[in-house]
């Protein structure tokens, strides 16, 4: 048990008072009955079997933050990092700010934020390894770094940037509510350290002493609708109509006349000039660019080949019966294996890859991985049985198995892609949370699958002096369909982003300025590719040189498009400060080498 000092000051002890029955979202604050099997158990903190005697042990607890009082002294962050022994580049709690007005009528509103131990913990649901648990004790959402394999998906889904991915250790860790202190009746370390009278803690909805509000919103605080966070605010002093962020995120907060709430809107802080920024297309998610595109191409090609063959479509059957079929399938297996390895190595702890299936119940990541794994096995199985059937053609059962694998692959491939798309449908990432992801993924499946088939088989046919334009026609059809689907998605995506405000619009702003030329070029290329393919096909052009040029153009466009998809997303996070938790400064520190000093608090680029 945590040791309570003899001279522990009064302010460090949790207040004991009446609590409400339900929270503002209508959920019971008493999490389990005292008679429940879940009650009376030890939290087993560092293997200590003791059970805390905190009388409010089974009530949902939460932070209370009086924003008017926060002075950004960093004591809460420091106390937290000191207790949890965190290195400078990690922090379970961070203070950022928004500011507004004109000198001297200027206001800075500091916001100290850690984990909100939400009613609906999206981190827990998103985590493929089930590293998260929401405890009946205090309603704490705790994460176990020993289970985590460092995919970072929880850091994507959390609207408050609470889980911290450590690129050095390759794992996530986060605020643990100081449950060890709660067990002995003490407030968390950050709260006990607060010097401004801003942070408080207790049973949620309880308004602390000398405070009168327990609001669920604050200017700069992301929407509470996604997760129903267990944090309450007081903010009574008047603020300017518009509050800006000092970090690089192009968002500011504007007071809505009717609701009196502050809404995030785009802050065109970097001007309206268009740039290329091709070098900034790189990101930590580069392996995912390759992984998603290859997987989509392979699934597309597999459906085209096996489906076409099963339907008896002539040029396809020709392929499946040719000598080139097995090498083509092996090639697909090889690149898909490469893609899977790449995505596995992208994990913080690749050797724990097998844990990806642990959360099929909630996590789209688990489901995607399962889907891709089944598809991969169908592909491998199809190859295996086709290969065997080639040697033992008398055993028709082998052919049946091969066909069975093909059927299964045709079904599970698109299902896998559906869950792949679900991964990105994250409310806290409005740029991704759009059906365009699905059209892009399925579009790419058709386009790239067709191109993959065509690029391998066309020269083969030609070498064999066979007629290849029927195959060209079929693949062209796939390409046109795929590109059309993708284009429609992009058009609606751009329109909806512009209209929705907030982080989505901010992404659109970066799309049209920071990556303006790149984005426009992508759009032009997309349309141009579509037109060229249609025209070439109408004119029955069969020159492989020309077609290859077009294919390469389509592939390049797809790569740029997917890279943009990853770099443009702006999550709904807490505002940062000028240096700390400022993405702009982090990039700058990495580029200039400032990050090579560990005390700068920015981890240098590892790839």
């Amino acid at each position: 048990m945590f040791t309570v000092r003899d001279d522990e000051p009064d302010y460090a002890f949790l207040e004991k008072k009446q609590h409400k029955d339900k929270n503002q979202y209508g959920k019971l604050i008493e999490l389990v009955e005292k008679s429940s099997a879940l009650a009376g158990q030890s939290l087993n903190i560092n293997n200590d079997p003791a059970v805390g005697d905190n009388p409010d042990r089974y009530k949902q607890h939460g932070f209370h933050f009086t924003a008017d009082n926060c002075i950004a002294c960093h004591a809460c962050e420091a106390a937290c990092s000191e207790k949890n022994d965190n290195p400078p580049h990690l922090s379970f709690r961070s203070v950022g700010y928004v500011e507004g007005g004109t000198y001297p009528a200027f206001k800075r509103l500091n916001i100290s934020m850690a984990c909100n131990h939400c009613d609906n913990p999206v981190c827990l649901k998103g985590c493929p390894t089930r590293a998260y648990t929401k405890f009946a004790e205090y309603g704490a959402v705790l994460q176990d770094p020993d289970i985590c394999f460092g995919c970072g998906y929880c850091t994507w889904v959390c609207p408050y940037n609470a889980p911290q991915l450590d690129p050095i250790k390759g794992q996530v860790s986060k605020c643990n509510m100081c449950v060890d202190r709660l067990e002995v009746g003490l407030k968390p370390a950050c709260v006990s350290a607060c010097l401004g009278g801003a942070l408080e803690f207790g049973v949620v909805e309880n308004t602390p002493k000398n405070r009168e509000q327990a609001k669920i919103t604050l200017p700069g605080f992301p929407t509470n609708e996604i997760t129903h966070p267990n944090i309450r605010f007081q903010q009574v002093k008047s603020l300017p109509r518009e509050m800006t962020r000092t970090d690089s995120i192009p968002i500011k907060y504007h007071k809505d006349n009717k609701s009196k709430q502050y809404k995030p809107i785009v802050d065109t802080k970097k001007g309206l000039t268009r740039h290329w920024n091709l070098d900034k297309l790189h990101s930590r998610e580069d392996p995912l660019v390759i992984f998603t595109l290859i997987t989509q191409a392979v699934i597309g090609a597999f459906i085209l080949l096996t489906g076409g063959s099963l339907l008896g479509i002539d040029p396809i059957s020709q392929i499946t019966q040719s000598k080139a079929y097995l090498p083509l399938l092996f090639g697909m297996l090889a690149i898909e294996t490469f893609a899977l390895v790449l995505s596995t190595m992208h994990l913080g702890k690749p050797h724990r890859f097998y844990r990806a299936f642990n959360n099929l119940r909630y996590s789209p990541v688990s489901r995607e991985v399962a889907g891709v794994a089944v598809f991969f096995n169908c592909l491998a199985g199809h190859i295996f049985f086709t290969l065997l059937y080639g040697y033992f053609s008398t055993y028709t059962l082998l052919q049946t198995f091969a066909q069975l694998c093909a059927y299964l692959g045709i079904i599970t491939g698109p299902i896998a892609l559906y869950f792949m798309h679900k991964i990105y449908r994250i409310p806290a990432r409005p740029y991704w949370n759009h059906w365009q992801v699905l059209t892009a993924f399925y579009g790419n499946m058709l386009t790239l699958g067709s191109i993959l088939t065509a690029m391998v088989m066309l020269p083969f046919f030609r070498y064999d002096a066979a007629i290849y334009h029927p195959l060209l026609n079929i693949t062209t059809l796939g390409i046109i369909l795929g590109l059309t689907l993708e284009t429609i998605g992009h058009i609606f995506h751009a329109r909806d982003l512009r209209q929705q405000g907030g982080e989505g619009s901010a992404s659109y702003y970066e799309q049209s300025t920071k990556f303006g030329y790149t984005w426009i070029s992508r759009n032009i290329l997309l349309i141009l590719n579509l037109i060229t393919v249609s025209v070439l096909s109408m004119l029955s052009i069969t020159s492989l040189y020309i077609w290859y040029l077009v294919f390469i153009s389509i592939i390049l466009t797809a790569i740029v498009s997917r890279a943009l998809f990853y770099v443009l997303v702006i999550p709904t996070t807490m505002p940062g400060a000028f240096f700390w938790k400022n993405k702009g400064f982090q990039e700058h520190a990495r580029e200039t080498g400032l990050a090579n000093m560990p005390q700068v608090g920015v981890v240098p680029d590892t790839h």
């Binding site: 460090a12 903190i45 293997n47 420091a78 400078p88 000398n210 005390q599 700068v600």
Partner: protein, 739 residues
């Protein structure tokens, strides 16, 4: 478990396995927080926490204190003495014997060739009081140079000078408890939440219990300005005008405490005549605060039953610093707000032991608030030390800020720098570099061998830091608290007390004197010397100080056995020692405080066409002074790892300066590269740059000296802003940051 896995692993929470907590006192600022350092079973310091039962901080610590245990193992610490012939040679490791002998010989050579005062000693506010006292004995009684001063000239000199001028002695008359009683608090040039977060917390606690008006005078919208009931956004360097105008209104409207003025002050008549010239209308044109506000504030302050003023560098670091302090004292004297609960002139001090050096280091005179100019004081101390009183100079020598110009002009040839870093902290870095280059001999004594002054040193003494040794600090409210030794210094680094004692041994004069080896013994000497002085500590000893978590002076010997006060922990004084001058009797011969007239002469370097921006400087909470300590502690440094300026977005727009881009600041002295942070915190014609960074703001600052305190005006200079190539500037910025 509500959601998640059924079978749970044990919850893992970091356990630093603290086996023992050791009591000590924070070594950063002057708030004087009691700290416990946690040691694991190998004796390695692994944790820090505030002491719950300590009255000052009541369990709290600021960001710097929370990570203070990381100091011991931080990068750049000095492990071995270093030596070299010329400053262009590389350093060689050497023995203490050699380093000390070389230094002693160089001191003797320089003094023999050029005179005793040609060797100067500049100390600090960072050492323990016992070390200060020993250094004073060494400098004044053995080496015998009159050019001996502390870097407190950069922070507290104006407060000292102002206190002496008004009350006849140094010593802040109030305490933190005054927040609990005051009915109006006025803060001048103090950003309490950032500079002294724990004192701010004490104020905030008082405000939670009982609301009273807080008025903040600051040209910048700091968090304190923003939280205040009234923010007076003053024109830099014009506080004296505001203070005169406040006094004008108070006297003019008959709000002054005439009884107090009559009984306890002198000089009222001339004072009243002078302030008569500063009517609110005239004053408002100079200080930028409108006449109505001046009247409002004056009435509020004067009508409050108890009103107090606090101030920090906004007042002290100005050419009118001493006058500013006197002006604040005037305000409190005419309203009868000295020595009463909630009524005070409380200077919030800077370094952890700035007070200790003021009291005991003999920098500005002799120990125990004695002065060289007083023959009795000289005799008392000379007799106590067993030296000839004639060995003492009869007048104080050069201030720290005058020692550098004296090196420049060739009067001083040798220098001993102790725990101070003029390469970062002194104004006009280029001039300081030239100055240090001229020295025939420079010895640097510091805990860090990467402190920038070692670039110009011939000998380097690696010193122990903070709780690697034992001794006392005095805080802002005159509370003497003890730093207990928590861990050993690294490798061959030694406690400053040991270094001073070893140095003393190398001079003949010391043979007949006492240089006790332990700080407890030194403290006993100081107790004896303090008897009957304002700064009476004769009732304290190290153990009693720890037991009570710090004791405020005056604390004379009482009915209890003075030789071992700790034997009786219940020993209480007959008199409350939280405040000075409660009886209205001051340290002047007539026992009256002086009301001093303060005519205002505007000698600031004000912005003009060529240099259109005020350059304002100041601190940030995560850093301490020249960043030698905090620059290496990632969990502090990360909040501002590289220099920046705050600039008004409207001014930035006109100049085409973007947020988070580099600019080059140019003044009449030099230039500096900083990142631009656009914020309405500062007015259109002002930029603010934190002073902590080496090769940054002090390449620009003028640092005109205050005529009384010789403190530089760090906060009032003029600069212009130039565009720079972003990549080159970024490169340069990286090159200039070794930590």
């Amino acid at each position: 478990m509500l959601f998640g896995r059924k079978k749970k692993n044990p919850i893992k929470i970091a356990d630093k396995k603290v086996a023992e907590w050791k009591y000590t006192t924070c070594g950063y600022c002057s708030t004087g927080c009691s700290i416990e350092v946690g040691l694991n079973d190998q004796g390695t310091p692994v944790a820090t926490r505030g002491v719950g039962s300590a009255d000052v901080n009541r369990g709290k610590l600021c960001v710097k204190g929370i990570f203070e245990h990381e100091l011991f193992k931080s990068k750049g610490r000095g492990n071995e003495p270093l030596i070299r012939q010329h400053i262009h040679n590389a350093y060689q490791k050497t023995s203490w014997e050699d380093a000390l002998n070389t230094t002693a010989n160089e001191i003797k050579r320089i003094q023999g060739t050029y005179g005793r005062d040609a060797f100067a000693i500049i100390s600090t506010g960072q050492l323990m009081t016992e070390e200060f006292y020993t250094l004073g004995k060494l400098s004044r009684g053995v080496i015998g140079t009159n050019n001996y001063d502390g870097n407190t000239t950069l922070c507290m000199a104006s407060a000292v000078s102002g206190y002496k001028r008004s009350f006849g002695s140094d010593g802040p008359p109030g305490c933190y408890d005054d927040f609990e009683h005051t009915e109006c608090l006025m803060a001048f040039g103090s950003n309490l939440p950032e500079q002294h977060p724990i004192i701010f917390w004490r104020l905030k606690q008082a405000l939670e219990k009982r609301s009273f008006p807080v008025i903040v005078v600051d040209p910048r919208v700091t968090m304190f300005s923003q939280m205040a009931d009234m923010h007076l956004a003053i024109t830099p360097g014009t506080d004296v005008v505001l203070l005169n105008a406040l006094a004008h209104v108070i006297i003019d409207e008959g709000l002054a405490d005439t009884d107090y003025i009559k009984n306890h002050t002198s000089g009222a008549e001339t004072f009243e005549k002078l302030v008569a010239q500063y009517d609110p209308v005239t004053a408002s044109k100079i200080c930028g605060i409108d006449e109505d506000t001046i009247r409002n504030v004056a009435r509020l302050y004067a009508k409050a039953d108890a009103a107090m003023s606090i101030w920090t560098m906004g007042i002290n670091q100005s050419t009118h610093g001493s006058d500013g302090v006197v002006g604040i004292n005037n305000l409190n004297l005419i309203t009868g707000n000295i020595g009463k609960e909630g009524g005070s002139s409380l200077s919030i001090t800077g370094q952890c032991n700035a007070m200790g050096t003021r009291e005991w280091s003999s920098c500005s005179g002799l120990p125990g608030y004695r002065v060289l100019e007083n023959p009795e004081h000289r005799k008392e101390v000379a007799d106590f030390w067993n030296i000839d009183p004639e060995f003492f100079p009869k007048q104080r020598g050069l201030f720290q800020t005058d020692i550098f110009p004296a090196i420049e002009t060739g009067q001083i040839k040798g220098l001993w720098l102790i725990a101070t870093n003029p390469m970062t902290s002194m104004p006009n870095t280029a001039r300081i570099r030239k100055t240090l280059e001229k020295l025939e001999f420079l010895v640097v004594q510091d805990s860090y061998e990467d402190v920038e002054t070692t670039q110009y040193a011939h000998v380097y003494f690696p010193a122990a830091t903070w709780a690697e040794k034992e001794g006392c600090f005095t805080n802002t409210e005159r509370r003497v608290n003890i730093v207990r030794k928590v861990t050993e210094p690294p490798a061959n680094a030694k406690a400053d007390l040991w270094i001073f004692n070893q140095m003393a041994k190398r001079f003949e004069q010391s043979a007949k004197m006492q240089f006790p080896e332990t700080s407890a013994e030194v403290f006993n000497e100081m107790r004896q010397l303090s008897k009957g002085r304002l700064v009476d500590i004769s009732g304290m000893d190290h153990d009693l100080i720890e037991q009570q978590r710090g004791i405020q002076w005056p604390y004379p010997t009482t009915q209890n056995d003075a030789n071992s006060p700790a034997d009786n922990p219940h020993h209480k004084q007959d008199k409350d020692n939280s405040r000075l001058y409660t009886d209205g009797r001051f340290q002047y011969a007539d026992q009256k405080a002086k009301l001093i007239s303060l005519p205002f002469i505007d000698n600031n370097e004000v912005p003009d066409q060529e240099y259109p921006f005020w350059l304002n400087t100041g601190r940030v909470v995560e850093h301490f002074h020249s960043r030698t300590k905090t620059g290496k502690i990632g969990n502090c440094n990360k909040f501002s790892p590289t220099p920046y300026m705050e600039i008004n977005p409207d001014a930035a727009l006109e100049l085409g300066i973007e947020h988070m881009s580099y600019v080059r600041l140019v003044s009449r002295r030099g230039d500096a590269i900083v990142l631009a942070q656009l914020t309405q915190r500062v007015p259109h014609n002002m930029i603010f740059v934190p002073f902590h960074f080496h090769d940054c703001v002090n390449r620009l600052s003028l640092g005109l000296l205050d005529p009384h305190s010789r403190q530089p005006a760090f906060k009032q200079s003029a600069v212009r802003i130039e565009h720079v190539d972003q990549q080159e500037a970024a490169q340069l910025n990286v090159e200039m940051r070794n930590f």
